[in-house]
Amino acid sequence: MSVILDIRLKRANKVYHEAEVLAGVVVITSKEAVQHQGISLTMEGLVNLQLSSKSVGVFEAFYNSVKPIQLINSNIEVAKPGKVPGGKTEIPFEFPLQVKGNKVLYETYHGVFVNIQYTLRCDMRRPLLAKDLSKTCEFIHVLQPQKSKVQPSPVDFTISPETLQNVKERNSLPKFLVRGHLDATNCVITQPLTGELVVESSEVAIKSIELQLVRVETCGCAEGYARDATEIQNIQIAEGDVCHGLPIPIYMVFPRLFTCPTLETTNFNVEFEMNVVIVLHDDHLITENFPLKLCRV
């Protein structure tokens, strides 16, 4: 006698804004009638912070993980105690995504040290001798687009041996000159990052040019704060010894879930950066860093 509990949201993409209503059905599939003591739905929004082992000790990282911050937690009853007939039963529900008090709902974000996640959980309590059933389903919260216009703040850049920092032996570097520009560093998260890059000259053949999207997560805790940069994705825009003088497009789509509008709160920050990485044929690695500010318009 197996009972299958499922939640189906109406929206295919499961994306909701604040104050919107999550509509869907709870589906109970069973061969026989099911006795239960109530079915309820719980909506929960949590920020999970984890300390990186780099900034604190390994053990501390393991034990001392910061307490999760609850953003929202509400509960509704879907069905009173009773019996669900055999077969497939669909119970429709509507659940407003509404925060109590003056708490702020952040956007869904899946990171390494910071995770913002929203879930909808359905619980079916059952009488003695039968296990309670539960089903969880994640939904995505996205901020209401801001009305304000963002300044695109374009950036021009030039990369040559002279512009590099952190170089030990500047003389051993081959000569090269790469110019380019980004159309914006204040990026709209739904729009791709765009720009252009021209290899003006290079003594050594170029092996590859890549765009590296990096997240910078900062967690505040008792001992101060920890700041870590990790890669989200790496997109190759040039392979091999590209034609000199010909502009190569910079184009990168921001991945969903792994990016969110740049976030600064009292407890944690989530920021993003982009590196232009040029790999030369002799395996020299040249990186130019651009901080980005993401927003949703």
């Binding site: 990790t230 590209v242 991945p255 792994f258």
Partner: protein
């Protein structure tokens, strides 16, 4: 048998008055009134409706102004316009004057749409596919390197730790076959192709089993192979193979998303974004996000291009925005070969999905030009040195891709654009590779109009790199389809040939020359073509180079034959026959001869006696004939014979009959192995004899008489060499008839005697179309027609009366007929009408100037008596046979033979003779005895008799009629 055996029919055939009978039988000729109505007269529907109304079809509700002269029901259904003419009107009206049309906007749109569509004149990729695969091959070892799920090691290389979470996420994405990094080394080309095909298969399987991620991984790994340029000669083929997989993938994704659109499904081709539901959109979006995060450039590019069409599910402008972006993305590919093929793929997908977006096609081309110098970069050169590939070979690898790009760009492009393209190519210092593709891909008319410019440009190209003969080959190909200005033609040919003739390698030379022959033949006279042929011979003869170039040489021959139909001109070309001599391999030679003869038969309108043609063609035919040997199949022989016969029929020396005969003699000697040709020759000679007779008006002079005898002699000695017995029989008969017509009595006698004498040789079965059939029917046919000839053949003075008839009947008697066959009796029955006809005072037909037996014997009673005796014997034989049939199971046959004999007696016998009359009645009864007689035939026979009886001389028939009764089956 009711005693009919004892009946002795004293006589005779009834007396016939053929003239009167004919007149009686003739139908009355009534003049046909040429009225208005005739069932076969076409219905003329005159449609005077305005064209525009017709085009709009159903929407035009205005009262129709159509006035049909004869309204036919079909067209009246369609408001006077039938659908076909409706289309015709529509297409006709689309060309002219837009401004006058009230619906010009609509029309304009329609026109534009038409322009945007890819028409049938666009050579599709599938046509190129095979060519590329067969052209770019390698014997080197290849390797496939597939990383399935080992991506993470690479991804983490540049900076620091990828978090655990992302790592697991990536693993989820990438790992279906954990650690299945496969590297297949040392694959031969066939193995490689097989592996790729396996991948294609596993892609489909993965898709079918809902492993979408695995499918995506396969596609990514495959497209990654395209960044590998080791074994560079094979790259174009590799491209073809892998883009096949990409096409499959693109199709699968598109179909899946389309199937997610809930019912009612939108039209597959014309749906708008609004028709697509959220689930489908979300899935589609997911694909794009997934693909956007592919790390490497080349797979990301190819996979996104593969599913370009899916943009239609998301928004209207998707494709329009994506194409330029992808185009720009290709700039990031460093290797020029990889880049150019990526462009070709993008153009291909673009043409398929959105042919109206020409801009990105153009942009592709301009980007290609901009990055063209990459080809000569150090990186490439180093690579070529390592792979030991020479520059010209390397450059040809580009051709398919550049051809394709240019073809897309040039497709229905305005001349202005093409001119601009050409200018841009020029700026790059007349790069030969580009120039070649330009000539390939642009409209032939465009190229032809600027042929002189092109020649100049070709000359300016530097010799190193792309071989010039290929350039001239391309130019020639364009000029073969479109004509340059009249005045430029000769200079063009001179310039081109100057270069071509300097090509050293015979293979390269002939490839190029073959193309230019077309141009030469098309525009110039035999003098120039002769020069060209001379040049070809000069190049191809040393070291027997022609042996490796038969296909090209054949093509040269074909082109010459296409343009030169006048064979006297053709053969008067000095170098034509020497050129033919280059075809020394037998099979090719025969092939060439056949093509010459085919053209000759098709285009030679009038018979010829031109000695040049005759000699040459006789030589050609002899070549064909000599190729026949014991192993030649029947069909081949037949087709050769057909061609030779066609030639023989076209030979005529006019009134010089003797020469014609001697030609036939020569031909007989030449074509002795082909029986069909020999038969044709005999027919020709017979025809010659008859022609002579016609010219002489029937009165042969001594000379012509000798000539026709010579003709007869020709036939007489030729016929025995045939193996087919029926051919021999028929030819003997025919020649006998001809001889008779020409008053050669002894010759005719000899022919007929010969025919009779070989009758016993006729086998019981002959093979007809490969099956064994009984020869009986054929033999009966022959004998019947032989009998009818015998009527006019006069008896030989030294032989007995009716010598030939008796001879024939004796042969029939002795012939071993099939068991259980009535054939012999049937012959006897059919001999009766002949005998009846012979006993008439005036014969049914005679041959002018030949005295038949009627004159020879003049109705001598002894002669008549002889005939009667013969009749009696024959009838006796038939009756005997009937008797044997009665005893056996053959009652049905008995009835049928009895009826046949009855019919003959009725038609030819004198039924006033009581015995004969009685016999006839008995036969009638016999035939009806067993009820196997067809009642319809019997009834009609009775009616016929009734009709006959109305004539005074046949009144006795009415008495007989009373005795004939239709017996019931009971």
């Amino acid at each position: 048998m009711r005693g009919s055996r004892d009946t002795k029919p004293g006589k005779h055939a009834r007396v016939r008055k053929y003239g009167a009978e004919l007149q009686r039988c003739q139908l009355e000729a009534t003049p046909v009134e040429q009225g208005d109505y005739h069932p076969l007269k076409p219905i003329i529907v005159t449609d005077s409706r305005s064209r525009r109304g017709g085009r709009k079809g159903s929407t035009s509700s205005s009262s129709s102004s159509s006035s049909s002269v004869a309204m036919d029901p079909l067209s009246s259904m369609m408001e006077g316009t039938d659908p076909l003419s409706l289309f015709a009107a529509a297409s006709a009206s689309e060309v002219p004057t837009l401004s006058h049309s009230s619906s010009s906007v609509e029309l304009g749109r329609k026109q534009r749409e038409n322009e945007d569509e890819v028409g049938a004149d666009f050579e599709p990729w599938s046509a190129k596919r095979g060519e590329i695969l067969s052209r770019f091959t390698t014997t080197e070892k290849l390797s496939i390197n597939l990383f399935m799920g080992s991506e993470k090691n690479k991804a983490s290389s540049p900076s620091s730790a990828v978090s655990e979470k992302v790592r697991t996420r990536l693993e989820e994405l990438d790992d279906l076959e954990e650690g299945s990094q496969r590297e297949l080394l040392n694959l031969s080309q066939q193995d490689y192709v097989k592996r790729i095909e396996e991948l294609n298969q596993s892609l489909k399987e993965a898709w079918a089993s809902d492993q979408k991620v695995k499918a995506l991984k396969i596609v990514i790994q495959c497209s990654k192979l395209l960044s590998d340029t080791s074994v560079i000669q094979f790259y174009p083929s590799k491209f073809v193979l892998i883009t096949d997989i990409l096409d499959t993938f693109g199709r699968l994704v598109y179909e899946r998303i389309w199937s997610m659109c809930s019912d009612p499904r939108p039209q597959p081709d014309s749906f708008s974004v609004e028709d697509v539901n959220d689930t489908a959109k979300e899935t589609c979006l997911n694909w794009f996000f997934k693909i956007a995060s592919i790390r490497e450039l080349i797979p990301r590019l190819y996979v996104e291009a593969a599913i370009l069409k899916c943009n239609r599910f998301l928004n209207k402008t998707g494709i329009q925005e994506t194409l330029p972006r992808l185009t720009a993305m290709i700039r990031g590919i460093g290797d020029p070969l990889v880049a150019v093929y990526a462009r070709a793929y993008l153009c291909r997908v673009g043409m398929e999905v959105a042919p109206h977006l020409k801009d990105s096609l153009n942009k592709n081309f301009f980007d290609l030009l901009a990055s063209f110098r990459q080809i000569h970069s150090d990186t490439v050169q180093n690579q070529l040195v390592i792979q030991r590939v020479e520059i010209p070979v390397y450059l040809t690898l580009y051709s398919p891709a550049i051809h394709w790009i240019l073809q897309c760009v040039a497709y229905r492009a305005p001349d202005v654009l093409l001119t601009e393209m050409m200018e841009r190519c020029k700026k790059l210092g007349n790069n030969a590779l580009l120039l070649n593709s330009v000539m390939w891909a642009f409209r032939p008319e465009f190229v032809a109009a600027r042929a002189t410019d092109f020649i100049g440009m070709i000359k300016d190209c530097d010799e190193a790199g792309f071989p010039k003969h290929l350039l001239f080959g391309s130019l020639g190909r364009s000029l073969a389809c479109a004509d340059p200005a009249e005045s430029e033609r000769l200079p063009i040919l001179n310039e081109a040939w100057k270069v071509i003739t300097k090509v050293r390698s015979p293979q390269d030379y002939i490839n190029c020359a073959e193309i230019w022959v077309e141009f030469t033949c098309r525009h110039f006279t035999k003098r120039e073509v002769n020069t060209v042929l001379a040049d070809i011979i000069k190049h191809m003869t040393p070291d027997r180079a022609f042996e490796d170039a038969y296909p090209q040489l054949q093509s040269v021959m074909k082109k010459i034959l296409t343009y030169f139909h006048n064979f006297s001109v053709l053969f008067s070309m000095e170098k034509f026959l020497p050129f033919m001599d280059m075809f020394q391999k037998d099979s090719v030679r025969v092939e060439v001869c056949k093509s010459i003869m085919e053209v000759f038969i098709k285009h030679q309108q009038e018979p010829t006696r031109d000695p040049v043609i005759l000699n040459a063609l006789l030589h050609v035919c002899k070549t064909m004939h000599d190729s026949v040997n014991a192993l030649t199949v029947e069909d081949e022989k037949r087709s050769l014979a057909l061609l030779i016969n066609g030639f023989i029929r076209m030979v005529s020396f006019g009134r010089d009959f003797e020469q014609q005969l001697s030609f036939c003699v020569e031909a007989r000697a030449t074509f002795c192995n082909l029986e069909t040709v020999i038969i044709q020759l005999i027919h020709t000679v017979n025809q010659l004899a008859m022609e002579t007779k016609r010219v002489m008006g029937g009165n042969h002079s001594r000379k012509t008489a000798a000539f026709v005898r010579a003709c007869a002699a020709y036939s007489f000695i030729t016929i025995p060499s045939l193996t087919s017995i029926f051919s021999r029989l028929h030819l003997y008969l025919l020649s006998g008839q001809v001889a008779l017509a020409n008053q050669c009595l002894s010759q005719a006698d000899a022919f007929l005697k010969a025919a009779v004498s070989i009758l016993p040789e006729v086998p019981r079965t002959i093979s007809v179309e490969g099956k064994q059939r009984s020869s009986e029917a054929f033999l009966l046919d022959f004998i019947n027609s032989f009998l009818s000839t015998l009527l006019v053949v006069p008896d030989h003075p030294e032989q007995g009366v009716l010598y030939l008839v008796r001879g024939l009947l004796n042969m029939v008697q002795d012939y071993t007929w099939e068991d259980n066959s009535d054939a012999k009796v049937r012959v006897y029955i059919s001999a009766l009408p002949l005998l009846a006809a012979m006993s008439q005072e005036n014969y049914l037909y005679t041959i002018p100037k030949v005295d038949s037996n009627e004159t020879l014997y003049g109705g001598d009673p002894k002669f008549v008596a002889e005939i009667s005796r013969l009749c009696e014997t024959l009838i006796g034989q038939v009756l005997d046979h009937l008797k044997t049939l009665g005893r056996e199971e053959g009652v049905r046959r008995q009835g049928s033979i009895a009826f046949a004999l009855f019919s003959v007696l009725l038609a030819h016998g004198d039924l006033r003779n009581n015995k004969l009359n009685q016999l006839a009645v008995n036969l009638w009864n016999l035939s009806h005895k067993n009820g196997y007689c067809e009642t319809r035939t019997s009834v009609r026979t009775l009616e016929h008799i009734k009709q006959q009886a109305q004539q005074p001389e046949l009144s006795h028939l009415s008495d007989m009629l009373l005795r004939l009764s239709l017996q019931s089956r009971a």
